[in-house]
Amino acid sequence: MWVYEKKLLYPVEVTTCNPMLARYIMEQYGGADGELAAALRYMNQRYTVPDKVIGLLTDISTEEFSHLEMLATMIYKLTKDATPEQLEKAGLGAHFVNHGHSLFYENAGGVPFTTTYIQSKGDPIADLYEDIAAEEKARATYQWLIDISDDPGINDALRFLRERENIHSLRFREAVELLKDERDRKKIF
């Protein structure tokens, strides 16, 4: 069960109508290394990991959904009053034809989200290493988004989100260390 708070995790200030930037941010919205992939990956793996790390996966997955909400707000605000011509110029003509002004889970190239982006291997070490890799890839994506964006309000929120990827990566690394402590040999002696 979840309790919803009707506010964003971190404020999102958007000052310009910039559908091109919205399109780039969609990489983190519905892309392979994006927040949707992260949230779904952890929320699913959590059932079959050792009990010590179930809570961590649930918590981080929940936070990823709050990041997804921030990205949705950015994309919505950057495009909500854009004309079809502006959207077309930004490379969102095909998006507009299919989805109008609504959002959709697609990457910056317009490829729709697929669960083939994520995995649950049922082996705790394999799963946690995938999670660490996912956080590092998301961190890198935020770096390139910050580099390509000239909107100071958006960049402030993107910097916050990038920092959270660092912390999540660290927590997953700690989870691996916790599991190493569960070594059978240690318990016998």
Partner: protein
């Protein structure tokens, strides 16, 4: 090789209403490379014939995997 060095286990939550007979202890693999960030020089080695059979020249990186362990 002591395989228990490379296995971990935990006791999952068991409900009185579990529909299938519950497995009380779950085992998982903690492969040798997890504990060796850089391989130390001069580790004991297998003979070439044994190394071919095991998949590694160094016994300390061979943890085996047998269906009899019942991990899955």
């Amino acid at each position: 090789m002591d395989r228990s060095l490379f296995r971990g286990s935990y006791k999952p939550y068991v409900s009185p209403r579990d529909p299938c007979p519950p497995i009380l202890v779950k085992t998982f693999v903690l492969p040798p490379q997890l504990f060796t960030n850089f391989q130390k020089p001069g580790l004991p080695q297998y003979s070439p014939e044994q190394a071919l059979k095991h998949g590694s020249l160094w016994p300390s990186f061979v943890d085996g995997f047998y269906s009899e362990e019942g991990i899955s």
